[in-house]
C-alpha cells in the first residue's frame, strides 16, 4: 500500500497532511484494514477546539468502535460530510477522499514531530 511521503503518521494510525496552517487528518490504510467494514463515522462539528491527543470522534466497524485522536491541536474547520452517507469510502480510499477533519493548526512543530511514512510502515510491520 502507498503511504504518501508528504504525510505524517501516528502510532494510533492517523495520518496528517499540512497545507499552510491547515491540517487534514484521516486514518491509515492499515487502520481501516484492521477495523474491517466500516459502518459509521462520528466526527466533531466545525469550531471545536482540540488539543493534541484528544479523542475527537469514533469509527465504528462490524467488529469494534474505535476512538480517533487528534495528531495535532487546533480548531476544527470542517468535517468530511461524505462519510455521513458513505462510511464505506473509508475502506475504499482512506488516504484521499475519505479524510476525516480539517484543523487550523496551532503549533506546526506538532506536525513535524510525528512519524514519517517510512517510520510508520516499519512500526506497522513490527506490530503485525
Amino acid at each position: 500500500m502507498n503511504y504518501p511521503e508528504s504525510y505524517r503518521y501516528t502510532k494510533e494510525h492517523e495520518w496528517v497532511s499540512l497545507a499552510g496552517d491547515t491540517a487534514t487528518v484521516g486514518i491509515t490504510f492499515h487502520a481501516q484494514e484492521e477495523l474491517g467494514d466500516i459502518v459509521y463515522v462520528d466526527l466533531p462539528k466545525p469550531g471545536a477546539q482540540l488539543a493534541k491527543g484528544d479523542s475527537f470522534g469514533s469509527v465504528e466497524s462490524v467488529k469494534a468502535v474505535s476512538d480517533i485522536y487528534a495528531p495535532v491541536g487546533g480548531e476544527v474547520l470542517e468535517a468530511n460530510e461524505l462519510l455521513t452517507s458513505s462510511p464505506e469510502k473509508l475502506n475504499e480510499d482512506p488516504h484521499e477522499a475519505a479524510w476525516l477533519i480539517k484543523i487550523r493548526v496551532s503549533d506546526p512543530n506538532e506536525f513535524n514531530n510525528l512519524l514519517s511514512a517510512a517510520d510508520y510502515q516499519t512500526y506497522v510491520g513490527a506490530e503485525s
Binding site: 467494514d37 459502518v39 484528544d54 479523542s55 467488529k63 476512538d67 462510511p87
Partner: protein
C-alpha cells in the same frame, strides 16, 4: 462430526403485522349494562387516542403460536452451553424463580408503608450484608439497574468525594483491555479518558501506570480478573500507585464470578466497584430486561451513596433520606427488587462453601477448555487464566479463516458462538467462558466441536467460511445491515 444437534422441522412464521385481519380480536366483552359514555366528552378530545395505524389484529391462539414458533428458532442457556466470554451466561436456577414468585414478595408495592414492607426490606438488608461480605467492602447501594449504570454511579461517587475535597480532577485511567463501557462511563461522568497499555503478559504495566498517574487523575478503572481472564497479580501495587497521589481505584466487577469466596476486592485496595447480579449471582441476563448493578464502596465513599439508605433501627428497618452528601437517586424506588430477591436466593441456596465451589468450578472449566484446545488454537497470553480463556485466530487466518467464520460454524454444531474480536488487544480473539454451569459431558461436546472446526479449516475451508449451513437463515450481510439498517416494520 456434529454430535449435539440434528435437523428438525420448525414452523415458518411471518411478522405478526402480516397476519392481521381487520376486526379480529382476542377477547369478548359482555353487553354494556350501564349508559354509554362518550370518552371525548368525559375526558376531553385531546385525551382520547385514535386507532393506531397498522396495529395487528389477531386472535389469542395466533398470538400464542406466533411467539411460540419464534421461540423455537432461538438458542438459550436452557438448551445448552453459551460460551460467550465476558458476558457470563450462566444457568438461572429455578429456586430463584420460585422465591421471587412468593406472594408477599411478588405482590409487594413500593408505596406500601414501611410497617407492611419489613419482610421485603429484610431481603434487601440481607443482600446488602452478603455482598459487602463477598466483596470485602463497607457499604453498598442496590439501586443501579445494570452494570453500566453501576459504573456511572460509582464514578459519580468518586467525583462527589473529590469535589468535597475541593477538586474533582480531570482524567480517568482505563487499561486497553477494559470493557468498552469503562471509557464511556468516564466520559459521561465528565472525565477525559487515558488508555493504559498492557504489558506482554496481558497485565497492567506498573511503570506506565506510574508515569501516567498525577494530581489530575481522579481514578483508575480496572477489571480484575481482566478481559483476558488473567488475574492482575500486581493489583495491590497498582492501587498503591493511585492512592499515593490521591486517586481512587474503581473495579469493574464483571468478572467477580472468578473471585467469590477466594479473594475480596476490598482486601486488595479497591475503593468502589459494581457487581453484575446476572453474571455472578445467576439472575436472568438483562438483555434490556430488568437487571441489577449494585455498587459497593469503602467507608470513605459511603456518605455519597444514593438515597434512600436502608437503616436498621432497634426493632425495624427504615429508609433514610437524610443523607446530605448523597449524589441523589439513580433509580426509582429501591432498584429492581425482583432481581435482588433472585440474587439473594442464589447466595443463600449455595452458602459460603457453595459459592466458593462455583468459583472453583468456573475456573476449572475454563482451564479444561484451554488445555484441550491449546494444541489447535493460538494462545497469545500464557499467564494462568481464571474463568475465561482467550485464543487468537492466527493459525486459521493463514487459511483466510477468521474468528467470526469459526463462530458461525459453531452454530452448525449446536452451540451459541463464543465472543469474537474482543478483547481488542488480541488480534482476532476467540473468547470462551463456560461458567460453572457446564458438566464435563457438555464441555467435551464443545471441545470436540471446536477441534472438528479447526480440522475443517485445514481440509474443507469453504465449509467454514460460508457457515452457518443448518440454520433457518444462512449468513446474513452484516455490513449492509449495519450501514443501512431497517429497524422497524412499516405498513
Amino acid at each position: 462430526m456434529i454430535r449435539k444437534v440434528r435437523s428438525h422441522l420448525s414452523q415458518n412464521e411471518g411478522l405478526i403485522f402480516e397476519q392481521s385481519s381487520p376486526g379480529k380480536i382476542g377477547y369478548q366483552l359482555p353487553p354494556l349494562d350501564v349508559p354509554a359514555v362518550d370518552p371525548a366528552e368525559a375526558l376531553g378530545a385531546a385525551q382520547v387516542r385514535d386507532g393506531i395505524e397498522g396495529f395487528p389484529e389477531v386472535s389469542e391462539v395466533e398470538v400464542i403460536r406466533h411467539f411460540t414458533r419464534l421461540s423455537t428458532w432461538n438458542y438459550a442457556i436452557d438448551l445448552g452451553m453459551y460460551p460467550l466470554g465476558s458476558c457470563t451466561m450462566k444457568y438461572n436456577p429455578r429456586i430463584n424463580e420460585a422465591v421471587a414468585r412468593l406472594e408477599g414478595l411478588a405482590w409487594s408495592h413500593p408505596y406500601q408503608p414501611e410497617s407492611l414492607s419489613q419482610g421485603a426490606m429484610e431481603v434487601v438488608a440481607h443482600l446488602e450484608d452478603a455482598l459487602c461480605e463477598i466483596t470485602g467492602l463497607d457499604a453498598i447501594t442496590l439501586q443501579p439497574a445494570a452494570g453500566a449504570h453501576g459504573e456511572l454511579t460509582g464514578i459519580l461517587l468518586v467525583r462527589a468525594l473529590l469535589e468535597s475535597q475541593g477538586n474533582p480532577r480531570k482524567r480517568i485511567l482505563v487499561p486497553d483491555s477494559a470493557h468498552g463501557t469503562n471509557p464511556a462511563t468516564a466520559g459521561i461522568a465528565g472525565y477525559g479518558v487515558q488508555n493504559v497499555r498492557s504489558n506482554d503478559q496481558g497485565m497492567i504495566d506498573l511503570e506506565e501506570l506510574s508515569r501516567l498517574m498525577d494530581d489530575d487523575v481522579a481514578a483508575l478503572m480496572v477489571t480484575n480478573p481482566n478481559t483476558l481472564g488473567v488475574f492482575e497479580e500486581n493489583i495491590i501495587r497498582a492501587t498503591e500507585i493511585i492512592h499515593a497521589k490521591g486517586g481512587m481505584v474503581y473495579m469493574d466487577g464483571a468478572n467477580l464470578n472468578a473471585l467469590v469466596g477466594i479473594a475480596r476486592p476490598g482486601d486488595f485496595g479497591i475503593d468502589v466497584m459494581h457487581i453484575n447480579l446476572h453474571k455472578t449471582f445467576s439472575t436472568p441476563h438483562g438483555g434490556g430486561g430488568p437487571g441489577g448493578g449494585p455498587v459497593a464502596v469503602k467507608k470513605h465513599l459511603e456518605p455519597f451513596l444514593p438515597v434512600p439508605r436502608l437503616k436498621r433501627l432497634s426493632d425495624s428497618l427504615t429508609w433514610d433520606y437524610d443523607v446530605p452528601q448523597s449524589i441523589g437517586k439513580v433509580r426509582a424506588f429501591y432498584g429492581n427488587f425482583g432481581v435482588l430477591v433472585r440474587a439473594l436466593a442464589y447466595i443463600l441456596a449455595h452458602g459460603g462453601p457453595g459459592l466458593r465451589n462455583a468459583t472453583v468450578d468456573a475456573v476449572l472449566n475454563a482451564n479444561y477448555i484451554r488445555h484441550k484446545l491449546a494444541p489447535y488454537f493460538d494462545l497469545p497470553y500464557k499467564r494462568p487464566n481464571m474463568h475465561e480463556v482467550v485464543f487468537s485466530d492466527d493459525r486459521q487466518a493463514a487459511k483466510g479463516v477468521r474468528t467470526g467464520d469459526m463462530a458461525k460454524r459453531l452454530i452448525d454444531y449446536g452451540f451459541h458462538p463464543y465472543t469474537v474480536s474482543f478483547p481488542l488487544i488480541v488480534h482476532g480473539a476467540l473468547m470462551i467462558e463456560p461458567t460453572e454451569t457446564e458438566s464435563k459431558q457438555e464441555l467435551d461436546l464443545f471441545i470436540d466441536a471446536m477441534i472438528s472446526i479447526a480440522k475443517e479449516v485445514e481440509e474443507e475451508t469453504e465449509k467454514v467460511t460460508s457457515a452457518p449451513h443448518l440454520t433457518r437463515t444462512t449468513r446474513v450481510d452484516e455490513v449492509t445491515a449495519a450501514r443501512k439498517p431497517i429497524v422497524r416494520w412499516k405498513p
